[in-house]
């Protein structure tokens, strides 16, 4: 097995622990955060602060390196301009997120609970992603 796979597995494990500890795998807490006109639940705001804060510091430290540990180069997004796909995609994402209380990470972590509803969501989400690939014939990413 490639060493890259070990790093990716460890990263996935840590993120799942963070999502679970903070209760973000509970869709009611996510919907509660978006419920500004009801009983607002601030948890997600604290999670964002913790995640953005730690990642902002670590990102800057890691970016000083000339290369990552296991591969020769960093692969980071290069797009900078605002465009309509960004906004429309985020609107669609927000609609699905608000309706379900799930986004990709928490939904995948919740699969372990064996709940049928999260399984439906994940299958539909994978379908949506595959559908995008078919509709747009994405150029190969590097």
């Amino acid at each position: 097995m490639k060493r890259q796979s070990v790093g990716a597995f460890a990263s996935g494990l840590l993120i799942s622990a963070g999502l679970c500890l903070s209760g973000m795998t509970n869709p009611n807490k996510v919907i509660g955060f978006l419920d500004f006109f009801g009983r607002w639940d601030p948890t997600l705001l604290f999670v964002m602060m913790g995640a953005v804060g730690s990642h902002a510091i670590l990102y800057r430290l890691i970016a000083r390196r000339s290369a990552p540990v296991l591969v020769p180069t960093f692969s980071l997004p290069t797009k900078r301009n605002l465009d309509w796909p960004l906004v429309l995609g985020s609107v669609l994402f927000g609609v699905g997120w608000g309706l379900s209380g799930y986004c990709p990470g928490p939904a995948l972590v919740s699969l372990g609970s064996g709940s049928g509803s999260v399984f439906i969501f994940v299958v539909a989400m994978l379908g949506g992603m595959a559908g995008y690939g078919l509709a747009y014939r994405e150029p190969r990413r590097t």
């Binding site: 996935g12 494990l13 995640a51 990552p68 997004p77 990470g105 049928g116 969501f121 379908g127």
Partner: protein, 139 residues
Amino acid sequence: MGTATVGLAGGALIGVGAALLLLLNGRLGAIGGIVAGLFQRSSGEWAWRAMFVLGLVFGGLLLVPFAPSSFVPSPTSGPVLFLAGVAVGFGARLGGGCTSGHGVCGVSRFSKRSIVATITFIVTGAVVVALVRIFGGAP
């Protein structure tokens, strides 16, 4: 522990997990993008993406017995969940990111695109939750 402590600690762990992927593999911990990449046949990229997803799923499996309250089902009905899933999957690709890709990784790099995307999906999500509240089936 209070909401703030638990949220900040869990969030920090998410940030560290994402940073680990950057340190080792040189990639941002953008979950939606990594999952979507499983549908692209780019040579040598598939295995680590699959292992990342497996790490998320396996982590959940391990943690369910210790934190059952974190794993309650969505209050939304099956057909609506299906539509929501399609919207999240398609939207994450069209918009180039999700809550982790834009919301955590992008915002912490001060990316203008990610800040706009994050505000957009939070505002849209809030509008949808408010509409659901008004038109019945309040969560």
